[in-house]
């Protein structure tokens, strides 16, 4: 009896630490990242809907607002501070815990080792540790908004001086903002550990005979993204350390002298808020590519698969993301055109920013070339999301050309145009890649197929919804509609824009509701979906063909020569 109990205990311990929560299996860790991102995106979308509601009906009384936020929504009306706190959390959650985690950490963990012909990442325990460090960061962020004085309100960019002087600058700038900085610091560490693992796996753990130029394009993009992470996250970590010292130890790295806040003279001297902007955007712009480059790799891979042919130009598809990443490290100044930088610097940053269009166009032509030259295009859900990605990437990229020019950016910079631009390219496009990856690799994640009919319905509604939501937002930007404002109903010059804002809000709610189709499809398919074949998409890479050989004995290295007889 005692022996049986002992065995059961050991079995439970084994389940928890070997295959459960603290598993070192890369697929388990991939699922953990996936569900963390899924939870984060649900929270992030709900926050954005609340924000949209407030922008259109700022004086609306909602009884449950008061129950949740007794201080910041007294009498059921959302205060400006609450709006800013929702905006901060929305931005932080979406940028860090959705767009960074899902395309890179979740899907790289899922298939990177096997696409390279391995069974595990280079450092499985480090892999598990990086997930739990990331989870600690997420919990810290959530903790920041349940504090009595309210969540942080400085936005995801946390610009000083207001974010660096503590509670003197307002509610939410106290402990909540300190928690926010801690959360981001911990996230940086988790991302660095993860990037270290991905790079080591790609360099050292490829199957014998597989050269770098035989890796799937997904592996290339994850590899380049991980290098970007190693180069950019430490800068955010250093900047976060300095701003925490400004807040907690009274230093003056980012806080200028003679600063008067709420009629109080702040006891700092000589610091520069611009210094934070340089450090932050040195991380922040590569972060945009950390979010989108894995998506590009996923799209290249899936389009090639369902076009039943190798990529139009494999080499161009490898070198373009490398060029984008390299140039992306040099353009942080274009976020600071109106912050007071030298016009010569602005011109340089502008030229380099524009030059990113060249490799981006090369990639787009590759995707289109691959699809157009397909002998038999398969328009299933994953492929549709990839084509949707291409569309959104081009649309969002074109508006980037406006913002990359200092003269035009001077007008657009603080308007809804910028919000529309980055939601189109960094938000929707990257999410389309995540949807595509989810449909494509769902059989590997759960052994079942994700429902195609509901998937296609979800795609069409989301695609239309994305344009219906974010295209009009550009026009609001043309009209000078400011961003980051909690309420602009009182501005006369914005009165003509209000019908547009109401349309955007209603579309946002509709688009949010459409995502329920995906959530339903996901969980239903996990539990009741059709059993997955071993290679449902006739995939040509090693995660589908672990034996590593085609029937004729030819090794399955990528880019594989595909026959179209199937």
């Amino acid at each position: 009896m005692e022996a049986a109990t002992l065995t059961t205990r050991r079995s439970v311990r084994h389940r928890i630490f070997s295959t459960g929560l603290f598993s070192t299996d890369h697929r388990v860790i991939a699922r953990q990242y996936f569900f963390l991102s899924l939870f984060a995106v649900v929270v992030g979308v709900c926050l954005s809907l609340l924000m949209r509601f407030h922008l259109v009906w700022p004086q609306a009384k909602v009884s449950w607002f008061e129950k949740i936020w007794s201080v910041r929504a007294e009498s059921g009306i959302m205060t400006e501070e609450l709006y800013l706190s929702l905006m901060t959390l929305h931005g932080t959650i979406m940028v860090f815990f959705v767009l960074t985690l899902a395309p890179l950490n979740a899907f790289a963990n899922l298939v990177l080792p096997e696409q390279l012909g391995q069974r595990e990442m280079a450092f499985p325990r480090l892999n598990m540790l990086s997930f739990w460090v990331t989870m600690a960061s997420f919990l810290t962020l959530i903790a920041s908004c349940v504090l009595d004085e309210g969540g942080p309100i400085a936005g995801w960019t946390a610009y000083p001086p207001l974010s660096a002087v503590g509670s003197v600058s307002g509610p939410g700038e106290g402990l909540g903002q300190t928690f926010w900085f801690f959360s981001i610091g911990v996230f940086c560490i988790g991302s660095l550990l993860s990037a270290m693992n991905i790079i080591s796996t790609v360099i050292e753990c490829r199957r014998p005979g597989m050269s770098l130029m035989q890796m799937p394009l997904t592996c290339w993009n994850w590899f380049v993204t991980a290098i970007l992470s190693v180069l950019s996250f430490p800068v955010l970590l250093a900047a976060g350390l300095l701003i925490l010292l400004d807040r907690l130890a009274g230093t003056s790295f980012f806080v200028p002298g003679d600063l008067l806040i709420a009629e109080r003279n702040v006891d700092h001297s000589g610091g520069s808020p611009l210094l934070w902007q340089h450090l932050f955007w040195f991380f922040g712009h590569p972060e945009v590519y950390i979010a989108i480059l894995p998506g590009m790799g996923i799209v290249s891979h899936i389009i090639s698969n369902f076009s039943r042919r190798p990529p139009f130009s494999y080499r161009a598809s490898v070198w373009a993301p490398i060029a984008i990443a390299f140039l992306g490290m040099l353009v942080w100044g274009h976020h600071m055109f109106i912050s007071g930088i030298s016009p010569y610097s602005a011109l340089t940053f502008s030229l380099v920013t524009m030059s990113i269009g060249a490799p981006s166009a090369a990639l787009t032509l590759n995707w289109l070339g691959t699809a157009f030259q397909s002998p038999r295009l398969e328009l299933n859900t994953a492929m549709l999301f990839c084509l949707g990605f291409v569309s959104l990437f081009v649309t969002g990229g074109l508006t980037g050309l406006f913002l990359g020019q200092p003269e035009i950016d001077a007008y657009f910079h603080d308007t809804a145009f910028v919000v529309a631009h980055f939601h189109m390219i960094m938000g929707m496009a990257a999410l389309f890649a995540v949807f595509a990856a989810t449909f494509y690799w769902f059989p590997l994640m759960f052994g079942r197929m994700l429902g195609e009919e509901l998937g296609k319905l979800h795609f069409y509604l989301t695609f239309v919804g994305a344009y219906a939501l974010f295209l009009p937002m550009h026009f609001a930007g043309f009209a000078g509609n400011p961003r980051r404002y909690a309420d602009f109903t009182n501005f006369d010059f914005l009165k003509p824009v209000m019908p547009l804002q109401r349309w955007i809000t209603m579309t946002a709610f509709a688009l949010g509701a459409v995502q329920l189709i995906f959530i339903w499809n996901l969980f239903w398919s996990m539990l009741r979906g059709a059993p997955a074949p071993s290679n449902p998409w006739s995939g040509a890479t090693l995660e589908w063909n672990p034996e590593g050989e085609l029937p004729g004995g030819e090794p399955y290295f990528y880019p594989v020569k595909m026959d179209v007889t199937t």
């Binding site: 450092f123 080591s200 199957r207 014998p208 190693v230 003056s252 000589g270 997955a532 672990p546 085609l550």
Partner: protein
């Protein structure tokens, strides 16, 4: 030309089948290598090089912030910090530690275990001394009125030396681990990897410290 086969439907759901054993690994010069001891050492070295890149970026961000902040010191709030004399002795200790660790590593490779143990322990002890010496320096500066709040030069001194000390603590943990294994446990290949990568990282911290010292002495 290869032909893709029709998908085979498995009988039920659940996780995908386990991956069949792969080809023998070890590298053929054109591709990756596998988990044999030498390949693991290479993987560990790659990881430590990546860690060094990340640390370098952290220090470069802090140093560039320092350069910019000094350039902005328009209201004469930048006051040169006297370099505490003990800092030089600390530097010597760290350099000697690095030399001892490296000669110890070579002795280990040559199979001279007792020499290795002595040198590795010496290196570890000198590294520990460096850390203790740093805390004495911080106290020295605080006793002489140099706090973080009052002068950006001293703020950057504290930040940079703390960041370096945090790295030293991590590296010392690895040095102590190897030292304990060397003294109390038989060696296995895994420990050789720890030995190699901790020595590499220790040298990196040495170089980083020399850079910081040069900046403290000649520029700040």
């Amino acid at each position: 030309m290869a032909t893709l086969t029709e998908p085979k439907v498995r009988s039920g759901g659940g996780p995908p089948p386990p991956i069949t054993p792969l080809l023998p690994r070890g590298g053929d010069g054109s591709g990756g290598s596998g988990p044999d001891p030498s390949a693991s050492a290479a993987t560990a070295r790659i990881a430590v090089y990546i860690g060094m890149c990340a640390s370098t970026m952290t220090f470069m961000a802090l140093l560039s912030a320092m350069f910019v902040r000094r350039g902005l010191a328009t209201n004469n709030d930048w006051h040169r910090l006297p370099v505490p004399p003990l800092l030089w002795w600390n530097t010597v200790a760290l350099l000697l530690s690095s030399v001892a660790v490296d000669i110890g590593r070579r002795a280990f490779r040559a199979g001279r275990r007792s020499e290795f143990r002595m040198l590795w322990l010496t290196g570890t002890a000198l590294g520990t001394w460096f850390l203790i010496g740093q805390s004495i320096n911080w106290k020295f500066l605080a006793d002489h009125g140099f706090y973080m709040q009052h002068n950006p030069a001293s703020a950057f001194f504290y930040v940079l030396t703390w960041a370096h000390a945090a790295h030293v603590i991590g590296a010392l943990a690895a040095l102590y681990y190897v030292a304990c294994r060397a003294l109390f446990f038989p060696f296995v290949p895994m420990n050789r990897n720890v030995l190699e990568v901790s020595a590499i990282f220790w040298h990196f911290l040495d170089v980083m410290w020399l850079l910081l010292m040069a900046i403290f002495e000649f520029w700040s």
